[in-house]
Symmetry: C2
Subunit: 431 residues, 2 copies
């Protein structure tokens, strides 16, 4: 079954909003064996939407639209679908009543323009929206079916999961495609691609590389008979070829993986952050239940706070500045002790765009203090990606990944040095 | 001048990657008076790319493609453009030499498959890529011009800014459209739209609403003669109608705005975070130079750390748990004093998906301690958006916005209560 996506909204063409809905839909549909063959964005113009719906249904069996079902003037998807179907927009009294009740329950006033959400193309089926005001719409058209969903992400996802996906999956049948995404940290994309060349060459196997700062996700797709069994064999071989750099699968973030490892061991971690400003703590606390493994942390942004709150020696800071492996080590031990955790994980470095303390942009030191006084310090040389203001965000993100990966490898007893030699473990098990 | 965007990549259709490039391109082109009329995503299939390029040039003057210029097997844009132009791919010896030199300088090995990046459709012009390996391509086709750019964001942006935009802007001429984006915090989208109804009704004025958790951006577009002057008048009226909820313009984040206000006053802030885990510190440190206004913070995730590190009374925590206005107040004063800042900003609450300490999901208390012992505590009732795992991330994000907005209003001497009455200032200037 072939489906196209049509996202409606000027703000998407103007780049004010990134198209997260299309990404989510593509993923969800693929997981249910429905192939998305094209994804189009058009503006809030009824005639353009009509033309795009019609050409989508020339090529595919169904089109899913998002956006344009709200209460404001630029919401014109209902109008466009009525036009495409050659019918009128008709007020639905039951829907109007539900809208009025919903607004009253929330203690808010009904805006008259919001009643447009009770207009429905004649003959369309309403798709119940348990998460919001406007229902979705299912409209039969000459070339196929159009499913129109709200643009608000959690409303769209709710209607998809509860109503549309079950209907599409039923029509599509069982998938003859099996997929698996492996997540790696700290390896270069081209190094991975070279190692996996033999896998790429296998019949019916497709690899896609999805890079992020310091992380590459590899999506393995196997098509054909026995796709699921063959996928298991392919995954096995990929893991063999990539070694311990594979840290998880699918949506398992590094924070989640670290949380699970600590939980299994009944251990906790505390953080001491400088350049990352709180991003490591934020990553660790994104997982529900992380209070079982994350004690808390310090953001010692000002240099003197590293001394005052974490006990890093003042002479060390005075002589070398804040960006030094011994400072990372001191911060890590200080966090572990001050917050009473099993491990202390610390980062100090230069995020850019300017150098600091005589150190170039991308210089980062990560300290990991464990039980019994053990210490590991790594100093990945983070490459400077161009010269724009994005440097700061990219280096901060890379530092979060490198820090959590160091902890993960330590917990698993793996070699902490990077395969590419980029991360050096300067110190091990120093008392 | 009308331009369409064509983003190439299976990972985009499958939802593994969100289309940040198209958003950036849309924004950049709009700022230069070039209208993006459609944005399409197709997979890594040469024939599909050819068809999409051709139909784009049926409708528009130029098409900008991103993706598919890398060194791996799924990079097929060169092949597609050669096919669309009816020419062969030809090895460019100078380009091959530069590729070899570049790789050698980085101390890495040249992967043989990377040499595909030295193949060029015959007759195409290379677009210099000062930020990466593969050049962009400019290919003349029957319906117009195709600009092919790499998918790596900073490489794509570099080539656009340095080569393509100047060329397009020259062809497009001066814009007769003026735009301005205003940023608001804590107001509901439909409340804003209702207040701005008179503006919406003005000739040649278009408003777009771009909601995020707790923030709505309003893009004002004025078209026609004297667009820039008329825009100034429209912006003025919108600010009048929305009052102090407008905190900034264009890309000015709340973190940046707060940083500037503190810098002007020679003041600093320290943070004490619980449910947000470090996100407020991360937001404040995203701005270069924030070390001048952000001292640092504590992530007191475990309840007892609120007592040990911030001095929140143990009896208070024992009686009421961690989610209480007095706890927020104590954390704020504790952070201010422990880190030696002018202000202490603290948050405690329930991010979900489960209730905590007998408090429902979305209960949040924000404490702001200032000079001379002044205290403000707000308790916005954050609405629970559905029941999925997104709750946690949305509530954390909303809390960051509400906390920074409280500080901003305090610094500006504005009323800290929300217009909608959703945020209550429970306490003011308590010694």
């Amino acid at each position: 079954m072939r489906v196209e996506l049509l996202t409606v909204g000027d703000e998407l063409l103007l780049g004010d909003t990134i198209n997260g809905n299309a990404a989510w839909l593509g993923r969800r549909l693929a997981d249910h064996g429905v192939e998305v063959t094209r994804s189009v964005v058009v503006g809030d113009e009824p005639d353009v939407i009509v033309a795009a719906v019609e050409s989508a249904l020339d090529r595919a069996d169904a089109v899913i639209t998002t956006g344009g079902l709200g209460p404001t003037y630029d919401d014109v998807t209902r109008d466009a679908l009525a036009k495409a179907a050659g019918v009128d927009l008709v007020r639905d009294p039951a829907l109007e009543r539900r809208l009025r009740e919903r607004v009253a329950r929330a203690g808010r006033e009904l805006q008259p323009m919001a009643l447009r959400m009770a207009d429905v193309p004649e003959g369309a089926r309403l798709l119940a929206n348990s998460a919001g005001s406007a229902p979705g719409l299912r409209v039969e058209l000459p070339g196929g079916v159009a499913y129109a969903l709200p643009g608000v992400p959690f409303e769209m996802r709710t209607i998809m999961d509860e109503v549309v996906l079950p209907e599409l999956a039923e029509t599509a049948g069982l998938p003859s495609v099996a997929r698996r995404t492996l997540r790696t940290a700290r390896l270069w994309e081209s190094v991975i691609a070279t190692r996996l060349a033999e896998v790429e060459a296998m019949d019916g196997v497709k690899l896609a590389y999805l890079p992020d700062p310091a992380e590459v996700k590899i999506r393995i797709t196997v098509a054909g008979r026995d796709a699921a069994e063959r996928l298991a064999g392919v995954e096995s071989r990929v893991r063999e070829l990539l070694g311990p750099s594979v840290y998880g699968v699918e949506d398992e973030s590094l924070g989640l993986v670290v949380h699970r490892l600590l939980l299994d061991r009944g251990e906790t971690v505390a953080t001491a952050e400088s350049l990352t400003g709180g991003l490591i703590g934020a990553e660790l606390t994104a997982t529900p239940g992380s209070s079982g493994t994350y004690a808390g942390g310090m953001v010692t942004y000002a240099t003197d706070l590293k001394r005052r709150l974490l006990g890093v020696p003042g002479e060390l800071l005075a002589e070398h500045g804040a960006v030094h492996p011994d400072v990372a080590a001191g911060m890590a031990a200080g966090a572990r002790d001050a917050l009473g955790a099993t491990y202390g994980l610390a980062v100090t470095g230069v995020a850019g765009p300017d150098p600091q303390d005589g150190r170039p942009v991308g210089t980062v030191y990560i300290g990991l203090a464990g039980p019994g006084g053990s210490l590991t310090v790594a100093g990945p040389k983070l490459p400077v990606p161009g010269t724009g203001p994005e440097i700061r965000a990219v280096i901060r993100r890379m530092t979060v990944v490198h820090a959590l990966e160091l902890l993960r490898r330590r917990l698993l007893g793996l070699d902490v040095a990077d395969e590419s030699g980029e991360a050096r473990a300067d110190r091990e098990d120093r008392g």
